[in-house]
Amino acid sequence: MKKAQEIVLGVVTSIGGFLEIGSLSTAVQAGAAFRFQLVWAVLLGTLCLIFLVEMAGRFAAVSKHTVTDALRERFGFNFFSFVFLGVTLVDLLVLGAEIGGVSLALQLLTGIALRWWALPVGFAVWLLLWKGSFGMIEKGASLLGLVTLCLVVGAVLLHPPWRQVAAGALPSLPQGESAHYWFLAVSILGASISPYLFFFYSAGAIEDRWDESYLGTNRAVSGLGMSFGALIALSALVLAAGVFGPRGITQLDSYDQIALLLTPVLGRWGFWLFAASLGIACFGAALEIALEIAYRAAQGFGWNWGEDLKPAEDSGFASVYTLALVVGVLLVVVGLDPLKLTVFSMALTAATLPLSVVPFLVLMNDERYMGEHRNGRLSNAVVLFIVALSFVLAVVSIPLELLGGS
């Protein structure tokens, strides 16, 4: 009974965790520009994420190590510091994007410019981390995250041509604008496979004291949870394809455009539901990313860590998330365009995936950590293939997109 409860809760948590500003805005851009043609990127990214999250949970349950702990132990401090710097840098950009997302939602709701919101939003996130417990944050953010299901409702009400949606599951070449097509594919992959999710998940499994009896729960949570998350991202894509494309809005340069996603379908409610979904999903993600940055520092350097400790008991941990939030808020306050920041940091995530994923795969195959629960060939092959693909696409398409060719 308890396990069933854990699964339900875990799945709900993942919905909140999966949908954040990155997967939402990349999916919407893809739908507007290429209709259902990029459905495959969402599916492929999700498949990879399911495998990675399952691995992160299995790793924690079997080896009793977090991924970060083991990265340093197994590969030494020098290698660890490269991964640490690289992944943390990208995470800070993503954190900025999420804070921007919450601020933007508040701008939509109140009409007050988003730059004014960055500081209060950062403070609210910080306050929850400072005072709250892990369970409260995890469960609270994810229950509220269920509001994002309104995107699914919207997509269904739109009566999209399901056959064409399904056809998008197979990759196809675009007619023209191919640089932009591949760049969007990369951003979607980066947004779906965001490494902060599986690092966070492994820290959570240690906080919840998982052992080998949790392996089944873990499998269910990662599979179902991430699939539900993908369902919401797909709904956003379908909505954009149905709402924006036919009206000639094929290029989305600003959230002022994206904000209209639900209005034609849900009417008066659409606008407010979209703002609420965006705000809540980004708030949850901001909490998770700030925490995850602190986890990684604490685990990498062997400090005390735990969201349930009081700040005075783990001052290093508390200082790191405080500092991370300051940086994230600054990124928004200096006026970086939140949509550009988001899309760019998602593409950068894809480009840096090998940095975080390949060492993790080595750990998953290490008998000393995993014993009989080592990775099978299938999981290795699937993850390696998708990560290599994302990396190659990122290296090719990011420069092209930045140079503005089409």
Partner: protein
Amino acid sequence: MDLIRDVLDKQLVDPEERRMGKVDGLILELEEGQPPRLVEIEQGAATLARRLHPRLARWVEALGARIYGEAPGGPARIPWSKVRDVGIDVEVDQDFEKSRLYFWQEWLCEKLIRRIPGAG
């Protein structure tokens, strides 16, 4: 035991399982005609920095002296004889309160964290 594989970069815990940093460095003693002998575990930012680059280490040391003022000199060392167990973590017979990590966490706590309400 393989020192690099089994000891270096592992989590150090005190007898009450409190985390007290990682094994940042190992000190070996070389005597002529004898195999090298492990004598101490070393900890600290300067030790880590030295592994990346010696100049970085000098820079970190200078920075540390500036921030802490009268800091305990040199990197923290724990005699190998105090090591009780090497498993997932390395357990040593020394209280967390005597560790370098405790020193700077308290410092940070005093200078920053406790000044913010609700630190507990």
